[in-house]
Symmetry: C2
Amino acid sequence: MLSGSAQYALRAVAYLAGHDADKPVRAVELAEAVDVPANYMGKILHRLVRAGILKSVRGMHGGFELAIPADQLSLRVIVSQFDHRGEGRKCLLGRDECSDDDPCPTHERWGQVSQKIDEFFGTTTVADLID
Amino acid sequence: MLSGSAQYALRAVAYLAGHDADKPVRAVELAEAVDVPANYMGKILHRLVRAGILKSVRGMHGGFELAIPADQLSLRVIVSQFDHRGEGRKCLLGRDECSDDDPCPTHERWGQVSQKIDEFFGTTTVADLID
DNA sequence: TGACATTATCATGCGATTATCAAAAATGTA
DNA sequence: TACATTTTTGATAATCGCATGATAATGTCA
């Protein structure tokens, strides 16, 4: 369903949300917690920084912290940095011509399922990920 | 949501289902209908043959036809030849330890959505794809 | 200032998916 | 038999996500 990077990002952000604010968490610690190669974790975190989802602090006692309150940060925002599901693409079969006006036979049936997915990612927040 | 190959396969099978049985359709015709490179279409069709979903006829007036009645052929069977969504993998976050017994915080919420998806692919048949 | 910790960035390799090209095998037909 | 047609198969390339490693940039602290 989600790419590896997107899953790692969610796990990392969830870990951050479960920690004290104003106490940055280092990339290596996050990598350990998420079980991802440290260097790769760094890249993922940096992408989240550029997207404005995290703040980074360099130097000693540096690390990463949330730039947005956990309960205002939807999973969609995070996932969309890595996966591009549902951006412009709507038809299950990948038909170019398929639209609400000129639907393919399963357009409506799939639309209902697709909407459930969108709803989930749109309304679930990082706060919901904390144990 | 689906890989390119899976989408092509679905479109091709849908096209086949909309044609007379016992009249094989050539790979090039399918490729044109589906808008996929002809050689690549051939590969996809062959995979469906090996999976027992299609029958192939070689030589003049040859081509491909359904090996299973359209209304008994679920989308899941086709898609699973190319994508491996949901086979063993259940947790949205990709956690190894996550299970029904030891669930992650969104396990249930996501489980409901996930079940809708499974239901769709399991109960929708190729007959439903015909215009 | 200088030493060090930590993120930011660049360059590269690996593997899977997607795609192309062409030769080989099978089948019907003249 | 010889030929045209069509699937089957293998070799190869392009592309992308995943991952690694090294180096640069930037901040803290003594």
